[in-house]
C-alpha cells in the first residue's frame, strides 16, 4: 500500500517535470533571444537531473547539476557574451528554410514512438523495494574495474579538448 502511494507520487512528479522540460526545450529551439534560450536550457537540464533522481541515479544527477547546470551553462553564456555585442531580440537566428525541420522532427518522433510503444507496451520499471540500489561505491568499482580502459581514453579526450580549445581560442 505504501509502495503504491510512493509510485503515485513519483508518477505525478514525473508528469510535472516532464511537462516543464518539454516546454523549456520548445522555448530553447524557438526563442528569439540567445540569452533567454540559454536560461530555458538551464530549466531543461535541471529537470533532467530531477528525472535522474526518479530512476535512482543520484550520482549522475549530482554530476549533471555540477557539470551541465554549472560549468556548461557558464561556458554557453560566455560564448554568447563574447560573440554578440548586443543582447536582446534578434531576427536572424533561424535558417531561411527552417520549416523543413518540423516535418523531420514529427516523422522522427512518430517512428520512435511507434517502435517504443510496440516494443515496451506497458513494461513496468522495478519498484523501490525490488530495485537494487546502484550507489556511488558500485559506480566507482565499475569505472575503475571493467571500464578502466574507456576511462583512460576519456581522460585523453578531455586533455586533448582542453589543449585544443586553448589553441583555437588563443589570440596570436
Amino acid at each position: 500500500m505504501l509502495a503504491a502511494q510512493v509510485l503515485v507520487a513519483q508518477n505525478i512528479a514525473f508528469g510535472l517535470i516532464a511537462a516543464m522540460m518539454i516546454v523549456g526545450a520548445i522555448r530553447v529551439v524557438s526563442s528569439n533571444n540567445v540569452v533567454h534560450a540559454a536560461l530555458w536550457l538551464v530549466l531543461v537540464l535541471a529537470g533532467a537531473a530531477a528525472q535522474y533522481l526518479l530512476v535512482y541515479a543520484e550520482f549522475v544527477a549530482v554530476t549533471q547539476v555540477l557539470v551541465y547546470v554549472g560549468a556548461v551553462m557558464v561556458l554557453f553564456l560566455f560564448g554568447v557574451m563574447l560573440t554578440r555585442a548586443r543582447i536582446g531580440k534578434e531576427n536572424d537566428l533561424n535558417n531561411n528554410n527552417w520549416a523543413v525541420g518540423i516535418p523531420v522532427a514529427v516523422v522522427l518522433f512518430a517512428a520512435m514512438s511507434l517502435a517504443l510503444i510496440t516494443g515496451y507496451r506497458a513494461d513496468k520499471l522495478p519498484g523501490p523495494s525490488a530495485a537494487v540500489k546502484v550507489d556511488t561505491r558500485l559506480i566507482s568499482d565499475s569505472i575503475f574495474g571493467p571500464y578502466l580502459l574507456p576511462f583512460w581514453a576519456l581522460s585523453f579526450v578531455l586533455l586533448v579538448a582542453v589543449i585544443g580549445a586553448i589553441v583555437l581560442a588563443r589570440k596570436d
Binding site: L45, Y52, N95, N96, V104, M112, L125, P150
Partner: protein, 102 residues
Amino acid sequence: MLINQFLLLGAVLFCIGVYGVIARKNAVMVLMSIELILNAVNLNLLAFAMNMNGEGSADGHVFALYVLAIAAAEVGVGLGLVLLIYRNKRSISLDELSEMKG
C-alpha cells in the same frame, strides 16, 4: 512507473533537439540543441539501467557519466571554434561558412 514514459520523454527531447539543429542558423544555438540531444540519450541510458538492474551492475550509470564528460569536452571545443569563426568573420551564422563547398 512505466519504462516507456522515460523513453518517450527522451524521444520528445531528441526530436526537439533535431529540429533545433536543422532550423537554427546561430552556431551557439546549434550547440544548445546538441545538448538537448545528449540529455535525451542520457535519460534513455538511465531508464534502461534501472530496468535491468536486477544483476546489480552500474553499466548504464557509467555510460551516462562518460556521455556527460564527452559532452563537456564537445562544448569546450565547439565554443572555441565559434569564437575563432567570430573573430575571423565577425559573425557566427552557419550559412555564411562555405569555404569547404566543392
